[in-house]
Symmetry: C2
Subunit: 177 residues, 2 copies
């Protein structure tokens, strides 16, 4: 409507969901994000996202480590969520709201991660219940894998496949996700 | 009753809770552990443990990586849970079911972990909501900190404070908790 304004967020349909929960500081916390995403209907017929997963979503994009999310990050998140949802729906053929834990292996390989059968097995066990994985758990898995891989790569500047961590740094990286 | 039997588990009052959910294989999975602990009343007036936290409890003692827990591990878990509960109750003076996130710093220091203010800050943000931490989140934090510290120490044989990880190993360690 007003192309001269690069930041014309008011005309962005997503802004409505965001503004409804963001306070004056234009930042949302994990519980506000949970409400916001529930109201947006992005999880469709799937269960609403857990607070745990919403925290991870914030961590994924939280460059200033504030624990909150602004509208620019919310839009970025929205895009990723839709991509992950497309993947999940393609596996959830019977519309049960779950995918098979074996299919998670395939999804992870398709995302480009190269992991051993042992690592895949640990991940499948961690995120499935009775061999099935919900959309919320799938997202939690995708987000943690992305954050942890990014953090590892930052400490493996020469791409040797090996990285060294000081204890405190290791705890900061691993306890934040 | 029958002191000649070292493994006389039937007379152990804890065995009742365990046997009520364990199948013929005498192993319990995360959802069975959740039911078992809820029935035991160990969380008292606090909310029942989340499935997420029950999974971590199994990981903490899962030496054979089976994803399940036998009675010996259940007894070991029971002891740790009671110790953590004593700590939590001492901070929950007003019986609100929560402790202050600042108090988590103190608890972590008392457990003997030496962490920087940045690491403590990340942990507090990760486990609190509006500055308060529930018993379930407190446990989740204690268990993950214990597992991650143990795993780090195993890779830091000389206690140099620094450890090297291969990417796949890093993902195995961090995605299992």
């Amino acid at each position: 409507m007003n192309p001269g304004f690069g930041g014309n967020v008011a005309s962005d349909p997503l802004y409505g969901y965001f503004a409804a929960v963001a306070g004056q500081d234009a930042q949302i916390s994990a519980d506000e994000l949970q409400r916001c995403l529930t109201q947006s209907g992005i999880s469709g017929s799937y269960q609403p996202f857990s607070l745990e997963t919403c925290r991870l979503m914030i961590s994924m994009l939280d460059r200033d480590m504030s624990g909150t999310m602004g509208f620019a990050e919310f839009k970025e998140l929205w895009q990723s969520l839709n991509q992950w949802k497309t993947v999940f729906v393609s596996y959830d053929q019977d519309r049960s709201g779950t995918m098979e834990s074996q299919e998670l292996q395939q999804a992870i390989a398709n995302f480009g991660y190269r992991l051993s059968p042992q690592a895949l097995n640990i991940i499948m066990k961690r995120y499935s219940l009775n061999g099935r994985i919900t959309f919320d758990e799938f997202l939690s898995c995708c987000i943690r894998l992305r954050i942890l891989t990014d953090q590892f790569k930052r400490r493996d500047a020469t791409q040797s496949g090996s990285a060294s961590f000081q204890y405190d740094d290791f705890i900061q990286v691993t306890m934040s996700v």
